[in-house]
Amino acid sequence: MIDLMANIIWMLYIVIGGVLISWSVHFVPVGGAPAAMAQATGIGTGTVQLAAGAGLTGLVSAGFMMNVTDNILLIIASGAVGAMIMIAVTMIVGTWVYVYGVGCVPSSAKVKVDPITKYRQDIYVSQGTEGHGLPTVSFVSGVIGAALGGLGGSLVYYSLIEVGVNAGLKGSGVTNSVVGNELVAVAAIFAIGIFFVNSVIPSYNIGGTIEGFHDPKFKKWPKAVISSFVATILCAIVAVIAIAQLGGI
């Protein structure tokens, strides 16, 4: 088969990246539609949208860093920080809306005291809801999740770019033509595809909502990580072959 063995290390990185993305989703406080109505703790949108938002921001910041350096540590750190900023901004603005707009206290219904601040939670939870807003522990958890997701996303992207560079393509550089850089585009769209696959699998695992690492559902993460591991191996083989073939056209 097409030089799969030569790229085995990059395929390994892609799989690690996919697993990190899958694990990261369990940290992000996803509230779904109930949270949008301030009836559940977390950010008021679905897992996929949040993971994709954080992951794509990570991809952009990692790609930006690739313009100046090819040091893998700097690139994945840049990706992680980009994703962390994106999620942190989303959560802080969401909290303003919940506190000053909806008028509810950020509180978790899953634990009695916030594991970080040690504040009582249960007395602030409105009747008939499963908590609301983003308590400190969810915020911290979300930032950790975004860091892992950004790390995973940029690892996948970096590996795919390296596969292309090994196949004789140019990995960076901005062109003025409307056509753009083929390798960057193909690697980015494959990274997005792998990202979506690995953010939907854990979202089925947690059943759509989770508050963060203090949520009892968090303990289910090995199931999603195993599933993502298998699924990403398939995606990695396919993606590496498709990108290696780019060198031939």
């Binding site: 509230g31 779904g32 539609a33 109930p34 559940a40 679905g46 897992t47 996929v48 949208q49 994709a52 409307v178 056509v179 753009g180 850089n181 083929e182 585009a185 193909v186 769209i189 494959f190 997005i192 595809g193 792998i194 990202f195 979506f196 696959v197 939907v200 699998i201 979202s203 089925y204 695992n205 059943g207 759509g208 909502t209 199931k223 999603a224 195993i226 599933s227 298998v230 699924a231 398939l234 995606c235 396919v238 993606a239 072959i241 498709a242 990108i243 073939q245 780019l246 031939g248 056209i249």
Partner: protein, 268 residues
């Protein structure tokens, strides 16, 4: 959040096999016709994509009726995530005309594995999960191939990479293709959901995708081909939307006009 269905299988309408045949045969036929005909006829790719959109929307309808535990949009995004990987892989192998068929086969394998993982490892317990995942990923692949053919005029890997992927139109295809698959059931779900209404909405969404990719095709195929693409898309959209509105009027208890909002004087 448990948006989705009531926790049972979807009822009524055409059997899954019929829709699957429409999607698979129509989708592949459209992709091949769009490839072989001159660029001006690349709208056949879009018609193929519409067939595949209908198939995907029907598969989403069947699986999401069981209640996914998370929103319906997630499965549409998963479809296109798997589809984009499979579609580019199939074309990249350089096997010429077999490309789209290989892409669909690879999509079926990825979809089957993810479906089996969701049922066996994660334990979603949806009886048709494996089959639905295969169908959804194949439909996603065909949507991407069809819309790529509209823009590039062929499914040659070099042409698709240069005219669709490198300039970023692939992101556009990703989202509008995903919308066509996930939106119809997401918008129609509920106790009064009926298959013909959901699938007509899928046709309408597919036609919008054809109009938008037709617009994008002006970059590569020139204004004439682009106008023809958009015209065909608009005609299909108009027919589908009229039909959809008729279905709404059929299914609704009553359709009444509320008039405009009362002005400040009228409220006093």
């Amino acid at each position: 959040m448990s948006a989705g269905g009531a926790g049972g299988g979807a009822k009524g309408g055409y059997p899954p096999q019929t829709i699957m045949a429409i999607g698979l045969i129509g989708g592949l036929l459209g992709v091949y016709l769009g490839h072989f005909m001159p660029p001006a006829y690349s709208f056949f790719g879009g018609i193929g994509a519409i067939c595949a959109t209908v198939w995907g929307a029907d598969a989403v309808r069947r699986v999401a009726s069981y209640g996914l535990g998370t929103g319906v949009p997630s499965i549409g995004m998963l479809a296109l995530g798997m589809g984009i990987i499979a579609a580019l892989f199939g074309l990249s192998l350089g096997v010429g005309l077999l490309g789209p068929i290989i892409a669909v086969v690879v999509a079926a394998i990825i979809g089957g594995v993810i479906g089996a993982l969701s049922n066996k490892v994660i334990g979603m317990g949806i009886p048709i999960m494996e089959q639905a995942m295969i169908e959804i990923s194949c439909a996603g692949t065909l949507v991407i191939l069809g819309l790529s053919v509209v823009i590039a005029g062929s499914f040659d890997y070099a042409a698709v990479v240069q005219n669709v992927v490198a300039n970023g139109y692939i992101a556009l295809i990703f989202i509008i293709g995903g919308m066509g698959i996930l939106h119809p059931f997401n918008a129609s779900l509920g106790p009064d959901e009926s298959q013909d209404r959901t699938l007509t909405l899928a046709v309408e969404k597919g036609a919008i995708a054809l109009i938008i990719t037709g617009f994008a095709s002006s970059l590569h195929e020139g204004l004439m081909a682009a106008s023809l693409n958009m015209f065909v898309g608009f005609v299909i959209w108009y027919i589908a939307f009229s039909k959809y509105y008729a279905f709404i009027k059929r299914d609704a208890y009553q359709v009444v006009g509320t008039g405009l909002l009362p002005s400040a004087e009228e409220l006093q």
